[in-house]
């Protein structure tokens, strides 16, 4: 059973958001990494790039699949988890911790409210199966 921490916000594209002031820390969920299997490569944007909400900002590759990842909120990228270049397996091992992907300065922090809660996301993934 996939881990869904209570204190995070979730998108229907299986990204999570941790809010820290006006900064959003973004990664993919435990459920998403389980579906993908062994992650072998993560393609991320550069700090300074801006994205609208629900825009593709990179991709995650397993041996035989590639999935795009989408911004749950809009804003400017302030930091990127460069360590995933060398150790993409962190996405599998610790999707909510060391496997984080980008930090964004949100331009519309209220967007977070329209994301799913942990309980809603759990229901959503169950319905998808």
């Amino acid at each position: 059973m996939a881990n869904v921490p209570d204190n995070l916000h979730y998108s229907k594209d299986h990204e999570w958001v941790r809010v820290d002031g006006d900064t959003a820390i973004i990664g993919i969920t435990d459920h998403a990494q389980e579906q993908l299997g062994d992650v072998v490569y993560v393609e991320l944007p550069k700090a300074g790039e801006s994205f609208a909400g629900n825009e593709s900002f990179g991709s995650v590759e397993s041996v035989k699949a590639v999935s795009e990842i989408f911004t749950p909120v809009s804003g400017e990228v302030t930091d990127v988890n460069e360590s995933l270049n060398d150790e993409p397996e962190k996405v599998n091992k610790d999707p909510y911790g060391e496997g984080w992907m980008i930090k964004m300065k949100m331009t519309a922090p209220a967007e977070v409210d329209s994301l799913l809660t942990a309980a809603e996301y759990e229901d959503f993934t169950k319905a998808e199966e």
Binding site: V40, Y41, E61, S62, V63, K64, A65, V66
Partner: protein
């Protein structure tokens, strides 16, 4: 079997094909030929290919070279010949290890970091390199030297015509026969790549190092094309001269002329572009007991996963021909490859010296060359070469007018280690008849 699966007749196997779409009668194809009849028919057609029996000085992208006998023997083994693409590594290690060796050899020859499992041929490899440069740089202008094989340029044009890439041509020097860095007039920070061939279509060696400096100054990539792969045995590698992508036709490595194919495209680049390379890649891998094996890797670049976003549409490549090249290179070894390249150079220069001494004949280009060079005749080249073939059984070269009408008297001569001194002297005797 029909009865067992509950089908009453062979025709009923095709019940899902609507009746009005089914053929009423047999195909308009002759009745089956026996083995003897078939060989007779093909032998008769082969006999009509007079050029296959001539003393030949034809090159321009397809070359006659010595091939060790074991090359054809080994590629004819069932296990290599009749295997599919190595999708199941546990029962395809023979093919996979051979490709890994091929990739390594291509890197060693070109001076690059990584190479793929092969492309269709040199011309399509060059077109793919242009597309890759656009992906890497996200720029859309590509400048190609006019001294690239004209058929390669045609293929590149076809490939890029709908890809939003503007393909410009840069002229070669009419005296040098090479592409001067100063001739790259369109080169700017919107340029994705510059493409040059060396030795180029006219046989001349390009100054890759000088071109590389100029190209890199604007952040563009340098793509180097090689049609005569034997030249790697003697010439400084494109990688050592600063190339970013090297593509080559590998036919010279133990592959028969076979009227133009199948050949094999070599494709090599820098490690940092590994995820942008087209085609298949084989990498090292280990099983749970720590045993080494090889496997197709970085497959997410490819069409079967990324579909329209793939780095190329290529699927089947030239596996068996890449194997032939691998066996050739391993049999020849560094000394053999260098010896062949050295003999080609010496014989071609011997021929060039002798031809330029024939009254009325000259060499129009001044740049150093490897084993091909352009000869300017005192008369039109096409009838001259036809006469040589008819009267002396010599195919003396390829008329440049085939590709460029403004050069009626020029023809391209190629000399390899397979041409004996006697043959070269016979060519020169033949040319003397046209001396003016």
């Amino acid at each position: 079997m029909l009865r067992q699966i509950g089908v009453s007749s062979t025709e009923n196997l095709f019940d899902s094909v609507p009746g009005d779409l089914r053929l009423r009668g047999p195909l308009n194809v002759p009745a089956a030929l026996s083995e003897l009849e078939l060989l007779k028919k093909f032998d008769a057609m082969a006999d009509r290919n007079d050029a296959a029996r001539r003393i030949s000085f034809l090159g321009a992208g397809a070359y006659s070279h010595y091939t060790p006998t074991i090359v054809d023997h080994l590629i004819s083994r069932s296990e290599f010949l009749t295997a599919y693409t190595p999708y199941q590594p546990e029962i395809s290690q023979g093919t996979l290890q051979a490709i890994f060796e091929f990739q390594t050899l291509v890197c060693q020859l070109t001076g690059m970091d990584i190479a793929n499992a092969s492309m269709y041929d040199g011309s399509t490899a060059m077109a793919e390199a242009v597309l890759m440069a656009e992906r890497v740089t996200r720029r859309s202008k590509v400048i190609a030297s006019s001294a690239i094989h004209p058929e390669y340029l045609d293929v590149a044009h076809t490939y890029v015509q709908h890809a939003g890439i503007e393909l410009q041509h840069s002229p070669y020097g009419s005296e040098s026969g090479t592409t001067s860095p100063d001739s790259l007039t369109g080169l700017d920070d919107k340029t994705a790549a510059v493409v040059v061939q060396s030795p180029n279509f006219l046989g001349c060696l390009e100054d890759i190092q000088a071109l590389s400096d100029k190209v890199h100054a604007v952040g563009a990539l340098l793509i180097v094309v090689v049609t005569e792969a034997v030249s790697f045995g003697l010439l400084r590698s494109p990688g050592a001269c600063g190339a970013d992508i090297v593509v080559a036709e590998g036919q010279s490595f133990g592959v028969p002329l076979s009227f133009g194919g199948p050949y094999v495209g070599l494709f090599a680049t820098r490690e940092k572009y590994a995820r942008q390379i087209p085609g298949r890649l084989v990498g090292e891998a280990y099983d749970s007991k720590g045993r080494r094996g090889f496997v197709l890797t970085l497959a997410t670049r490819e069409q079967h996963i990324r579909r329209e976003k793939a780095t190329s549409n290529i699927c089947t490549n030239e596996g068996l021909i890449a194997l032939a090249a691998t066996i050739y290179l391993e049999t020849m070894g560094p000394r053999g490859v260098a010896e062949v390249a050295g003999q080609c150079t010496q014989k071609a220069h011997y021929a060039a010296r002798k031809i330029s001494a024939v009254e009325g004949f000259s060499l129009p280009f001044s740049a150093p060359f490897f084993n091909e060079f352009v000869v300017r005749a005192p008369v039109e080249a096409a009838p001259l070469l036809a006469t040589l073939a008819r009267e002396r059984g010599i195919d003396g070269g390829i008329t440049l007018s085939r590709y460029d009408a403004s050069r009626p008297n020029d023809f391209l001569v190629c000399v390899t280690e397979t041409n004996t001194r006697e043959q070269i002297d016979a060519l020169i005797e033949g040319l003397k008849a046209f001396s003016q």
